[in-house]
Symmetry: C2
DNA sequence: TCGGTTTTGTTCTCGCGTTCACAAGCGCCT
DNA sequence: AGGCGCTTGTGAACGCGAGAACAAAACCGA
């Protein structure tokens, strides 16, 4: 390993090129748009069409796709099925991802009942809750189990992704336990800042923040009109 | 109106400075961190402490706050209560925002039951659903009403913010109706691209996309380990 | 076989956001 | 009163992402 070849861009054929984070965030959108097109019977589409369906600029779409490789045909466009498979493979949704949900309250139940996960390669293998009163309750065809079963479940199903839907005060504890079990990706719905080891990915979904951002812009609209 | 003075930056004293979008997205996080500090009895904090609590870099925090004004004291730090009020005022959460939720299924019910909205200045004034079987059902103390009541409710309560929690196929129709009623901010949970007039703000929350992003990174971790 | 047409893949430029680093300012202690 | 230490606010450098623009490539029709 002379120099720092692994870090900088390398044209090596088998090595995965590293895809910009902004692009990674859009690939699932393209994937969904392609699925829709496919269901409508479209077999080929141009970057312009696909960009329209995905709600982005066509130049941006082409640049994003170019990070994956050259899967289009100049003068023709992209083969819908082929591109769909390539994106799915790149994201990793061709394989099946086992997921555990911790905190089966209002939100946890909604998540457990959501069919859109399974159809996109995610399989909820267990629902965990600290509240004993909830145990053995059946939600979405799965029994709610005690939080202490986490280790067992993670090891049995090789779970790598955990979802936190507990109150904010419990979130850090739950995250610590998840990390200790070997979970390396966490989707956090609790409004709290999690601290985890560097190799663990955390994504946060915070509904009140979204509303507050809307409120900010809303306020500016009305205040501008008032002046 | 000589030149395009209104569009470019203007140092006018009363005019609201325009705050970068990235900063706006972080202000609610600071707000929450300040609330927590306040509840713990802290009356003063440094940018370093607050940044730690919010999970960001302290330089970034200071720059973000500097867009609002100079609310800190050099050598001392920030007054927690004072800063909290200033941020709340800037975001607009000192006032009360009426909100309607459309689509009272799994997710809509969870949202309706969520107490975190009210405590942050948002008040759910109505729950709407197209399914007649759901009408008159009571969720979170509110009666589920027919979607056709939208106009009436929006005008009665001066609603500016709408939440869409319907299936994807219905989302565009719902959005169109909302816009027609005068709603100018939409939070969309359906996995679909909405097209709305320019002056309407749309924010999208897409849980499967979040999971797919995690899956992408997860895949890279394991594949890196395998090579 | 060859020009024309269409659409991709890529290069280049610009602007935004992040981070470093430091001067200015404030309080405290002597 | 004056110096000292601490913390803010900001100027400047840097890197990433967005978008325009174009050259390269593939198909089509004559
Ligand atoms: N409901 C929503 O629409 C909504 C919206 C935005 C954010 N959130 C956030 O999502 C989280 C869950 O919200 P909710 O409305 O479902 O709350 P909830 O109170 O209905 O459910 C929380 C569940 O977590 C369980 N729990 C508590 N501590 C636990 C622990 N240590 N280990 C395992 N389970 C534990 C509780 O028993 C309960 O069943 C909260 O942090 C909330 O702020 C919810
Ligand atoms: N449940 C989840 O955790 C989850 C997660 C991610 C995304 N989503 C998305 O959120 C949306 C709602 O999910 P859900 O699980 O609550 O679905 P759901 O089927 O349980 O509820 C949808 C509700 O919308 C109502 N509806 C349908 N068409 C309507 C219309 N035109 N006007 C008004 N109401 C209408 C239905 O009657 C139903 O009550 C979906 O788009 C889904 O993809 C849900």
């Amino acid at each position: 390993m002379e120099k720092t070849r692994a870090v900088t861009a390398r044209p090596s054929p088998e090595a995965a090129r590293d895809i910009p984070e902004a692009t990674v965030a859009r690939l699932p959108v393209y994937l969904r748009a392609l699925t829709t097109l496919s269901e409508q019977g479209t077999s080929t589409c141009s970057s312009e069409e696909l960009a329209g369906a995905a709600g982005v600029n066509s130049a941006k779409l082409r640049k994003d796709l170019s990070y994956l490789g050259s899967y289009g045909t100049r003068g023709v466009g992209y083969d819908v099925e082929y591109l769909r498979y390539q994106i799915a493979r790149e994201i990793g949704v061709t394989q099946d991802w086992p997921v555990v949900i911790v905190g089966i309250g209002n939100l946890g139940q909604a998540l457990a009942n959501y069919s859109g996960f399974r159809s996109r390669g995610f399989r909820v293998v267990a629902l965990l809750d600290a509240d004993e009163a909830r145990h053995d309750e059946v939600v979405a065809g799965l029994e709610v189990r005690p939080f202490s079963d986490l280790e067992q479940i993670v090891s049995d199903h090789a779970v790598a992704i955990g979802v936190i839907a507990t109150p904010a005060v419990a979130a850090q504890d739950v995250a610590d336990r998840m990390v200790a079990c070997g979970i390396t990706s966490i989707l956090n719905f609790a409004p709290s800042v999690l601290s985890v080891p560097e190799q663990v990915d955390v994504r946060k979904v915070d509904l009140s923040i979204e509303l507050q951002i809307l409120a900010y812009h809303e306020q500016r609209k009305t205040q501008g009109a008032a002046s």
